[in-house]
């Protein structure tokens, strides 16, 4: 009924518009007001009509305008919009566009199918464009975002080549459930699954019966994307912005838009990079000056091995300076009706550990096709192949992880291969690696012979159809259909030949693991958007509504084969075979509607709601509602240094879905020597599992200062997360280990500040420093169950979930009398895992043809358990083991030598005196020096060339920290929940990377 009315009205208007047929031609030329160079892309339109055209690559446009006096609107991405009055008598205009440094006029997504200009936006949505994103070459998109988004905490959890990054937005969103954001690429929800490679049988990080564990540094699959082809990333940080994504949006939503074709002759870009990397901080080991000292630490057998030579095991293992390369090419072009963008990438990242690498090849084709005036089709397609070998790193219990072995290996032992000519080398043809007398493996032999390879083929396809049912100056009705598929298949091969030193440990010689997994996400979305702008232009109202259906289907099969006949790698060669399967199948359905009302380009009011169903809830047919509302108002009258001030407030609710098996109390299928059995799982779930619910209020102000020389964004937020999906450790006397249920309330408050400045802006020199600051504090407001701890003993530090306290408070052993080595210990709060604050400082300085850029990333506060140091200490093998304890050190009461004192402190009553250590660090995350060759020179080389740039860049170049381990940022594992105590256990050594790039456009 209502629709037909709208349609009827629309047809009437269309008919009216068609009646005025008399036009004239306006031509124009658009330039950059700063450099006077032509602007090569953009749109022009005539106010009050549907007439429009595009700017050609020579900066000109042609417009068929009505014969009367008109106002022509010229816009181009990166520039401020200009309205030019063109009297009926005038047929040519020159337009100079001022740069929009702060992207205030960029369209930011606020709904499933709608967006508003940043200057009106009511939320602090962070946008990162391609230029800011790709400052140096990274394995994954999230690494490229590090330090660039206020409110985002991005950490490597593996540090090996190929990615492995966790992103959290605005602090704690959940106690025990998923905490990483939803990723949407060109409208399609894509998978960020982590599938473990299956090295547990070698490392024994957890129970030896398991083929894989979550402690294997799996790559999170969003790392497959090619950062080079991303046009922009928008980060919806909390429920107030992300509510329209419903029950998967509590952890924020990261919207990725890939590049599109531009009208004009084909434009090519080619970027060639060569790089290398270098170990950043070595763990090192103790140096033994005398044989007696060696015997004292390693027993009488040490005399067999002791030599005065000190072998640098870190250097032998991870001292390589590999060659990496990356070739990225794009081509873009098209006509008014057909536009295309294609890009390709070939990337190889070598690693500091010889066997390791990360490869990526990708091919993208984006097509935009206009069919008539009303229908447009977009196709976005990408095929990706990634591959890696990430060695054997992380937690272990078998002496097989590289650093597991090195922990107990003294520096006087020569681990290098004995070569046929009698020399000792890290690697040589026909070389034989000696068995390691002090551990179950020789890591140099493991590097040589043990494989941990991964290969992923991925296809992300999305198609979008926009049908402008009505398109008039006052009314527009658009139907949008989006369909997408994200499919990947992942294969992992782990192989250890029978002759490895550690292979006899389990009595089965040779280990081969083959894993085949895959995930398919399917999305279908239908939206309608109706916009009404009265002829007066006083306001505009946009109504949108839609429906979204999504399925996710993940499956992994693993085969472990041991006792390999003939040492063959094929799994059928084993006599001892074990199978494992992971399975996840989810269906989600959501409905949404939203109203945006913009009054006089000053006041923006938005209200919307989403309702979601999911098979992950106990009741799959129940709808959960997520409303949102927001308002912003721009004060455009300059006052003192303030050019423009926007006040904004937003409210939104969103959910955090249970995971697939969370709602089940299971009977595991096991057997005892072939007799089948149902074993009650140690996790018991409530029968009404539902999404967590987050309600967020965000208020903020955005100010443009000093005649557009600075832009300040200040945002405060408060989130209340209720119906928490708790995984409570219950008293084991109940016969279960964990209880899963909804309950409790948590609050997270935080502050984000972004300051973006252009102190100098001239044709020759442009200086753009940027600062982002973020802090958050969380508190458990209520808990329906008694205080409980996350796994781990207070001895090593653990997190305690307690009403009225921070969910990330760290509990550890503290002496009951401060500074007393002999007083009894108590379990006390030593601090918080959550950082006090995070600060990013980016600096971009362009002088003539040179551009200098660096990004500092600072993390203040937080605690981590340095398990690596503990293990070296107990092996009497720490680098500083014999160093005297300085006077006044908290360790002083416990002993005179560092190692022995730490052991005494850590075993008696003081965790923080020993291995529980502060994380505070500052990293020089990125630095780039680039040189733009003069255009005339470039053209003299090749007439078709547009530009050529040389640059030298680096990542993670420096770290300043008091932390004694390798890197406080590297986590022991991809923590499955936010409130998981973090340990540094034999992570992959961190490294600096350096790249030399040549970028050419033609």
């Amino acid at each position: 009924m209502r629709w037909s009315l709208v349609c009827a009205a629309a047809f009437a208007l269309l008919a009216a518009e068609r009646a005025s047929a008399q036009t004239r031609i306006i031509t124009g030329r658009v330039t950059d007001s700063l450099t006077s160079e032509v602007v090569t892309s953009g749109q022009v339109s005539v106010t009050g009509t549907t007439v429009g055209s595009t700017i050609k690559e020579d900066g000109t446009f042609t417009l068929a305008a009505p014969t009367r006096d008109v106002t022509v609107v010229v816009r181009s991405i990166g520039f401020k919009r200009v309205d030019v009055a063109v009297p009926a008598s005038q047929s040519a205009v020159d337009v100079a566009l001022a740069r929009d440094y702060f992207q205030l006029e960029a369209i930011v997504v606020t709904g499933q199918a709608t967006g508003v200009e940043r200057k009106n936006l009511a939320n602090a949505v962070a946008s990162v464009d391609n230029q800011t994103l790709v400052k140096s070459s990274t394995s994954s998109v999230e690494q490229a975002l590090m330090g660039k988004v206020a409110g985002a905490q991005i950490q490597d959890y593996g540090s090996g080549p190929g990615g492995g990054v966790i992103v959290t937005l605005r602090g704690a969103n959940s106690l025990n459930n998923a905490y990483t954001p939803l990723y949407v690429v060109d409208g399609v929800v894509v998978s960020d699954a982590k599938i473990s490679p299956g090295i547990n049988r070698l490392t024994r990080a957890t129970s030896a019966t398991l083929i894989s564990s979550d402690q294997e540094y799996p790559v999170n699959r969003i790392g497959d994307l090619n950062p080079n082809e991303i046009e922009s990333i928008e980060v919806l940080k909390g429920a107030s912005a992300s509510a329209i994504y419903g029950s998967k949006a509590s952890n924020g939503v990261i919207l990725i838009t890939t590049k599109k074709g531009r009208v004009g002759t084909p434009q090519f870009t080619v970027s060639q990079r060569f790089g290398t990397s270098r170990i950043m901080r070595k763990v090192g080991g103790r140096v033994f000056e005398t044989e007696a000292e060696a015997i004292a630490a390693f027993g009488p057998t040490a005399s067999q091995y002791w030599t005065p030579t000190v072998y640098d095991h870190d250097e032998e293992l991870a001292g390589r300076r590999p060659l990496s390369y990356e070739t990225a090419a794009t081509v873009s072009g098209g006509t008014e009706t057909t536009r295309y963008f294609a890009s390709g990438l070939v990337r190889h990242e070598g690693a500091i550990i010889r066997v390791e690498y990360a490869n990526k090849q990708s091919l993208r084709l984006n097509l935009d096709q206009q069919i008539g005036r009303r229908l447009s089709l977009n196709l976005s397609s990408e095929a990706i192949h990634t591959g890696n070998d990430r060695g054997i790193n992380g937690n272990g219990n078998a002496g097989v992880v590289y650093y597991d072995a090195l922990t107990s290996t003294p520096s006087f032992v020569d681990l290098r291969a004995v070569c046929p000519d009698g020399s000792r080398q890290i690697r040589c043809k026909g070389g034989v690696y000696p068995n390691n007398p002090y551990a179950n493996s020789n890591p140099l032999a493991s590097v040589e012979y043990v494989k941990n390879e991964e290969s992923v083929w991925r296809m992300i396809l999305s198609g979008r159809a926009n049908w402008d049912v009505i398109s008039s100056p006052q009314h527009s009705l658009r139907l949008i259909g989006i369909g997408g598929v994200d499919y990947f298949s992942q294969k992992n091969v782990v192989f250890s030949p029978p002759f490895m030193q550690f292979e006899p440990l389990d009595g089965f010689l040779g280990t081969s693991v083959l894993s085949n997994g895959g995930n398919a996400n399917q999305n279908v979305t239908g939206s309608t958007v109706y916009t009404y702008k009265p002829a007066s232009g006083a306001f505009s109202a946009t109504t949108s509504a839609g429906i979204q259906y999504e399925t996710r289907n993940l499956q992994v099969q693993r085969t472990l084969s041991e006792n390999l006949v003939g040492g063959l790698q094929i799994t059928t060669a084993g006599t001892n075979v074990r199978l494992d399967e992971e399975f996840e199948k989810v269906n989600d359905l959501g409905f949404y509607g939203q109203e945006e009302f913009l009054l006089g380009d000053r006041l923006l009011l938005t209200a919307g709601a989403r309702a979601d169903q999911s098979s992950n809830n106990s009741d799959a047919s129940k709808l959960y509602f997520y409303p949102k509302a927001s308002a912003s108002y721009r004060l455009t009258t300059p006052l003192l240094a303030v050019d423009e001030l926007k006040l904004r407030a937003a409210f939104g609710a969103s959910g955090n879905q249970p995971s697939y098996r969370q709602r089940f109390s299971e009977l595991a299928s096991v057997n005892i020597a072939g007799v089948p059995a149902f074993n009650i799982s140690s996790t018991v779930a409530a029968n009404d599992i539902r999404p967590e619910r987050q309600r967020e209020i965000e208020v903020g102000l955005d100010a443009t200062l000093f005649k557009s020389r600075a832009n300040l964004e200040v945002t405060g937020f408060e989130k209340r997360i209720s119906d928490l999906l708790l995984r409570r450790s219950i008293a084991p006397v109940m016969g279960f280990g964990t209880q899963v249920f909804n309950g409790g309330v948590m609050r997270t408050r935080g502050l984000e500040v972004g300051l973006n400045m252009i102190p100098i802006q001239s044709q020759k020199v442009q200086w753009n420093p940027r600062v982002n600051f973020f802090m958050s504090r969380s508190k458990v407001l209520s808990l329906p169950v008694p205080t409980f701890r996350q796994s781990g003993s207070a001895r090593y530090g653990t997190l305690q979930i307690e009403t009225g306290k921070s969910p990330t408070q760290v509990i550890a052993w503290i002496p009951s009398v401060a500074g007393s080595a002999t007083s009894p210990r108590t379990d006390g709060v030593i601090g918080d895992y959550n950082p006090d604050y995070k600060l990013g400082f980016g600096n971009d300085l362009k002088i003539g043809q040179f551009n200098v850029y660096f990004l500092l990333d600072h993390y203040q506060g937080g605690w981590i358990h340095n398990y690596t140091e503990l293990l070296y200490d107990f092996s009497l093998n720490t680098r500083d083991y014999e160093d005297p304890v300085p006077a006044g050190s908290p360790l002083a009461p416990y002993g005179t030598q560092m190692g022995a004192a730490r052991i005494a402190a850590g075993q008696s009553n003081c965790s923080t005196c020993a291995w529980v250590q502060p994380m505070t660090y500052t990293k020089l995350r990125e630095a780039t020096l680039s040189f733009e060759l003069p255009a005339s020179f470039v053209r003299s080389l090749w007439s078709g060339a547009r530009y050529m740039r040389l640059s030298l860049s680096g990542r993670n170049l420096l770290i300043l920290t008091g932390y004694r381990g390798q890197d406080p940022e590297v986590l022991a594992r991809a923590a499955t929940v936010w409130t998981q105590w973090r340990s540094d256990i034999w992570p992959h050594p961190t490294y600096r990377t350096f790249w030399l790039s040549v970028d050419v456009g033609f």
């Binding site: 389990d506 979204q548 009650i680 109940m734 409980f788």
Partner: protein, 458 residues
């Protein structure tokens, strides 16, 4: 109108695809609900009952390396967890018994769920079959509770654990109350087994070969009861139980009920199988304490159960022998065996005053197991351990016959108040008398039960 229709059709497209129900079942495992309704299929109940020995082996295997080390039978020297030894020999903490505690109560939970399900079985399961399951389950529950009581001793254990997850926590009771409950479970099991006919409806694990009928299982049940009664000092009752057990001085000493393993997918291999070894080694004290045979060579148990390895030192502990008890990944280890029953009878007889009968049984083990000469006569009082050389002889034989099978030395020496006399490898090493209750049990309770306090070491 056509456009409106197209519009509607477009909107319906995704809707249509969503019209089927969203629900997805658990593809991964069975559901606990299957054991909680009514008319439960007998197959489901039998399959769940078949898990009991899996839980029993879980409780038992976990204690060997920990309490075997505390009892100075061997060491668990793991270069990857180098502070583990310190936790067992230097400073105790609440983590030491947490695995045993959880495993024991998982066994109790599984048993209670199966017992509840039996009462609600669908037609098709006979009363005798139900009684068979009850007898089987309760025997296993008694074993789990017995292991927990041995480990937690003075700290206490919980016994009334058949409660709902959200109910108040069951109280921690004394060791005496726990033993009473263990005896009660064993006796209830006996009654059930006597009414269970001639065979079980479920498949007992291979470790119960020879005892996989109600009558056979009853013999195991009585053997366990004899062990409990010996621990309690109920000597006469112990002798009665032993008479009803499978004790047989003419049979193999290894006759008994076992925890079995396999390398089949879905099963686990024997965690005590450590061929290289990775962690499990022999205490030099245990080796040195072996008596000599007539030809001057040591007790066969000390030579046959161990093998020489290259000397290794970790944390100032020097060792040069590994265990040679579990020779393959699928080797079983005993729940209770004939050799222990004979020694239990010796102890019960001795304490009941029948020293001559005791001597006979001791000699069976000395000769058959150790290759030692039989003791010609009762050695009488004396010695540096208990003051009675015949008791010392029983403790010696238990230490060598039951080594690396369940922390027996530690439990036995504690029974006789001799823990302080266990040898120490390093100055500063101590002996813990029992495990404190685990953190996970203490934190939810307010105030902490007394058992949460870490005991004073000896």
């Amino acid at each position: 109108m056509i456009r409106a229709a197209t519009l509607a059709a477009l909107l319906m497209l995704p809707l249509a695809s969503a019209c089927k129900t969203l629900d997805e079942p658990d593809y991964f495992a069975g559901s606990l609900n299957a054991l909680e309704g009514s008319d439960i299929p007998p197959t489901t109940i039998n399959t769940a009952a078949q898990a009991m020995p899996i839980l029993t082996r879980g409780v038992m295997s976990g204690i060997v390396t920990t309490w075997g080390e505390v009892g100075r039978e061997g060491h668990n020297l793991d270069p990857t967890n180098p502070d583990g030894t310190a936790q067992r020999l230097v400073t105790e903490n609440r983590a030491i018994g947490s695995g045993t505690w959880s495993n024991a109560y998982q066994s109790m939970r599984q048993g209670n769920v199966v017992l509840g399900a039996v009462d609600r079985a669908a037609p098709g399961m006979t009363d005798a079959q139900k009684e068979g399951i009850r007898g089987w389950v309760k025997t296993h529950q008694a074993i789990a509770l017995l292991i927990a009581t041995n480990i937690f001793d003075q700290a206490g254990v919980a016994i009334d654990v058949n409660v709902k997850v959200d109910d108040p926590l069951p109280a921690i009771v004394t060791k005496a109350a726990a033993f009473a409950r263990i005896l009660q479970l064993l006796d209830e099991a006996r009654t059930h087994l006597l009414a269970a006919g001639s065979s079980f409806s479920f498949i007992p694990s291979a470790g119960f070969a020879g005892f996989n009928t109600p009558a056979g299982l009853l013999k195991v049940n009585r053997g366990i009861r004899a062990r409990v009664n010996v621990y309690l000092g109920n000597w006469t009752a112990a002798l009665t139980d032993l008479a009803a057990s499978f004790i047989d001085t003419t049979a193999a000493l290894s006759l008994g009920a076992y925890n079995t393993y396999s390398s089949l997918s879905g099963d686990i291999t024997n965690p005590l199988f450590d061929p290289v070894p990775r962690t499990q080694v022999v205490s030099p004290f245990w080796l040195a304490g072996a008596q000599l045979r007539a030809d001057g060579t040591p007790d066969l148990r000390s030579t046959q159960k161990t093998a020489l390895i290259t000397t290794r030192v970790l944390n100032n502990i020097t060792v040069d022998h590994k265990w040679n008890i579990y020779k393959s990944a699928a080797d079983p280890f005993p729940i209770i065996k004939n050799e222990e029953l004979i020694l239990l009878r010796a102890e019960a007889n001795l304490q009941a005053g029948n020293r001559a009968d005791a001597l006979k049984d001791i000699n069976v083990v000395r000769v058959k197991s150790g290759g030692l000469a039989p003791l010609a006569s009762d050695p009488g009082a004396g010695g540096t351990l208990t003051g009675d050389l015949l008791i010392d002889e029983i403790l010696y034989n238990r230490r060598y016959s039951l080594v690396w099978e369940g922390g027996h030395t530690w439990i036995d020496w504690r029974r006789y108040g001799q823990l302080a006399k266990l040898p120490r490898a390093r100055t500063g090493d101590v002996v813990f008398p029992y495990a404190p209750l685990p953190d996970a049990e203490c934190i939810p309770r307010d105030p902490d039960p007394a058992g949460c306090t870490i005991p004073t070491p000896l």
